[in-house]
Symmetry: C2
Subunit: 399 residues, 2 copies
C-alpha cells in the first residue's frame, strides 16, 4: 500500500513556493529566493510541515537536471564563436578572480592554507567554484527594460555568461571528482576526458538522429520526450560510468540538442514540467536542508566576506577583462556589474558540493544571502551607471 | 548518496513508451495500448530492464491523479444539464447492464454466486465496475472525421460518457470502501458522503478564490500550479481522512475548477506534465505489474467472455436507453456502438482494484485486450453503420 503523505508534501511545497515566489517578485526580489525561503519555513527549521524524503530528493534531482538541460539547450555556441576573444577574456578573468577570492576567503576562515590536494584545499577551491557562475537573468531584464540589451555591452555580458557557465560546470566536475577518496588525480582527469569523448561521439550521433526526426515531424510531442530521455541517459552515464555530476551530463545533453529547429519547442515543454513541479521541489529542498541554527559569529563573518568577495571579484575580474579588450572605463564597469548577480547555478553548484561533502551545511545560508543581495544590488547599480552616462551627456549637450 | 538508477529507468520508460505508442498509432491502434505493451516488454515478464520501484509507483500515482484531474476539469456540467434526461437514460442503462454482465461473468468464472457483502461478491461487482466507464476519444475522433460530431448522436454520446465516468468513479469508491475489512457498510456510506460534503464546501470556497485570482491575472503560471496543489490536497484528503480512492479526490478537484476562464489553460499545462513523464510511467507501470505467465485455459475463457460481455452490454444498454428516449433503431445502434470503446479509465479502475486486492493480477490482461480490441472494433463498426445509412439514402433517392 502506498503512503499518500507525499501528496500532502507536494501540495504544501507548490502552494508555499508559489506564494513566496510571487511575494518576493512584488518586493523586486528574485522568485527563486522566495522559494528558498518557503523551503526554510515549511522545513524542520521553522514549521516542520515537510521533511526531506527519498521521493522529494529524487524529484528535486530531476528538477535540477531539467534546469541544466534547458541551460544547455539555450547555450548558443554560434554566438560564442562570433563574439570570440572579447567574451573569452571577460569570462576568463571573471572566473579566475572569484575562484582565487573564494579560495583565499575560505583559507582565512579556516585559519590557514590547506596542503594542495587535501580535503581542506578542495573545500577552499569549491567556495571559489560556487561564485564563478553568473546569473544574467536579472541583468537581461534590467537591460531589456532600458532598451540596452542588443548593444555591445549586452552582447558581451550574454556571451561571457555562457562561457562562465561552461567553465563553472567543468571546474565543479573536477573538484567533485578529486573529492572522491577512491580516485587518483589521473583517474579524475581520465574519467572527465573519457566522459566528454563518449558524450561527443554519442552526441554527434544523437544530434543527427534528432535532426532527421525534427525534419520529418517538427514540433511533435516525441521530440521533447526523446530529448528528455537523452538528458536522463547522459546524466546516468555521467554518474554511473564516470563518477561525474549528473548535472554535467544533463548540461552536455542540452548542448547536443542545441540548434535544432525544435530546440526552443523542447525547452518550452521541459520548462513547463520544471516550473509546475520539479523546480519548486528542488529549490524548497535546499531550504529544507539548510541549517540556520549554526549561525555563529565566524559563520556570520564568513558570510559577510563571502558576499563582498563574490560581488567585488566579479566586477573587478570582468571589468578588467573588458578594459583589456578596449572597452572604456564606464562600459567596463557596466559589464562587471552586469556579471555580478548570482542565481540558480550558484545554488545548484553549492547543493552538489553539499551532497559531495565539500561544504559545511552551515555555510549554505551564505550562498542564499549572496543570491538575494546580488539580485537586489545589480539592477540598482546598473541603472545608476546608465543614468550617470545620460546625465553626463545632457551636461555635455547643455554646455 | 542518491542511487542514480532511476534516471536509467525513466529514460528506458520514456523511449520505449513513446516508440511503442507511435508504432501502435501507425497500426491504427490506441497509443495507450502501445505503452502498456512497452511496459510488458521492458518489465520482468520479458526483458527485465525495469522493475517496479517505490519511486516509479509514486510517479505513476501522480500520473493517474493528473489524468483524473484533467478529466474532471473537462467535465462539462452545463452541457449535462442541457442534454438532460436522454443522456441520463442512455448512461444509466449503459452502466447497469455492464455492471450486471460483469457480475454474472465473474460468478460463472468462480463457479457460483458469492454471498452478498463477501469478498467474492465485491470482486464480481468490481469486474462490472471496470467496464462501466466508456472511453469516447476514439468515437469522437471517428465522428469528427465524418463531420458528425456536432449532431444529435454526437452530443448524446458525449454527455452520456461524462455521466458514466462520474457513476463509475462513485461505484469504484463504494466497492473499494466495502473491501476495507475495518469498515462496516454504514461507515463506507458515511465516509463517502462525508467526503462529498467536505469536497462540496471546500470546493465552493476554492472555486470562488480561483475565480477571483483568474479574474485578476488570467492565464498566469500560478493558476495551474495552485490548481494542481488543490488536486493533490483533495487526493490526500480522500485517502487519508475518508479512505476513498485518491483518483476520486483528483476528479472532484477537477470538477471544482471547471468552468473558470482558465480551465483549459490549466488542462493544457497539466497535460504537458502528464504526457512528458507521468502518464508513460503510469501506463508502463501497469505493464510491469501484469502477469502474463498465469494465462491458463480458464483465464483465456474468462478473457473471451469478458471482452464479449463488455462490448455487447454497452451496445445493448446504451442502445436500449437511446431507443427508449425516441431515437430510431439505427441511431440507437450508433449510440450504443459509440459508447462501446474502453480506454484509460477502465485501466485506471482495474489498477486501483489490483492495489486494493479486488482483482487477481492474472485477469488484468483481459482488460488490456478489451482496450485494444474495442478500440479497433469501434471505429470500423461505427463507420459501416454511417455508410449503411448513406447507401440507404442513395437507394431511396435513386428509387
Amino acid at each position: 500500500m502506498l503512503d499518500y503523505g507525499f501528496f500532502l508534501d507536494l501540495a504544501i511545497i507548490l502552494l508555499m513556493a508559489k506564494m513566496f515566489g510571487i511575494l518576493f517578485r512584488k518586493l523586486q526580489l528574485p522568485q527563486v529566493a522566495g522559494i528558498l525561503v518557503a523551503g526554510l519555513i515549511i522545513g524542520p527549521n521553522v514549521l516542520g510541515w515537510v521533511n526531506e524524503t527519498e521521493f522529494l530528493l529524487q524529484m528535486g534531482e530531476l528538477g535540477v537536471i531539467m534546469l541544466m538541460f534547458t541551460a544547455g539547450l539555450e547555450t548558443d555556441l554560434k554566438e560564442l564563436k562570433n563574439t570570440g576573444v572579447a567574451s573569452i577574456c571577460i569570462a576568463g578573468l571573471g572566473v579566475i578572480v572569484p575562484l582565487i577570492g573564494g579560495y583565499l576567503l575560505y583559507s582565512l576562515y579556516m585559519g590557514g592554507f590547506a596542503p594542495i590536494g587535501s580535503d581542506g584545499f578542495l573545500e577552499a577551491i569549491f567556495i571559489g567554484v560556487i561564485i564563478t557562475a553568473t546569473s544574467v537573468s536579472i541583468t537581461v531584464e534590467t537591460l531589456r527594460e532600458m532598451g540596452k540589451l542588443k548593444g555591445k555591452i549586452g552582447t558581451a555580458i550574454l556571451s561571457a555568461a555562457i562561457i562562465d557557465d561552461i567553465v563553472g560546470i567543468i571546474l565543479l566536475t573536477f573538484v567533485i571528482g578529486f573529492k572522491n577518496p577512491d580516485s587518483s588525480g589521473l583517474a579524475v582527469i581520465g574519467n572527465t576526458l573519457g566522459f566528454f569523448v563518449v558524450a561527443l561521439i554519442l552526441g554527434v550521433i544523437i544530434h543527427y538522429i534528432f535532426k532527421y526526426v525534427d525534419h520529418q515531424d517538427p514540433h511533435r510531442r516525441r521530440l521533447p520526450i526523446y530529448g528528455f530521455a537523452v538528458c536522463l541517459l547522459f546524466a546516468y552515464i555521467a554518474e554511473h560510468f564516470f563518477g561525474i555530476a549528473d548535472i554535467t551530463g544533463a548540461y552536455v545533453a542540452g548542448i547536443v540538442l542545441y540548434n535544432l529547429s525544435s530546440s526552443e519547442y523542447i525547452v518550452g515543454k521541459i520548462d513547463i514540467n520544471s516550473y509546475m513541479l520539479f523546480s519548486p521541489i528542488f529549490f524548497t529542498g535546499i531550504g529544507l536542508k539548510t541549517e540556520i541554527t549554526g549561525f555563529t559569529l565566524p559563520v556570520l563573518l564568513f558570510t559577510i566576506g563571502f558576499v563582498i568577495i563574490a560581488l567585488l571579484s566579479k566586477v573587478l575580474g570582468c571589468g578588467f577583462g573588458a578594459k583589456l579588450m578596449g572597452f572604456n572605463k564606464l562600459d567596463s564597469l557596466k559589464i562587471g556589474v552586469g556579471m555580478m548577480a548570482r542565481g540558480e547555478v550558484a545554488l545548484i553548484v553549492a547543493q552538489k558540493g553539499l551532497n559531495a561533502g565539500l561544504m559545511n551545511p552551515t555555510l549554505f545560508s551564505a550562498v542564499i544571502i549572496l543570491v538575494i543581495l546580488s539580485s537586489i544590488a545589480t539592477p540598482i547599480i546598473l541603472k545608476s551607471l546608465y543614468s550617470k552616462e545620460e546625465s553626463d551627456i545632457e551636461i555635455a549637450i547643455s554646455a
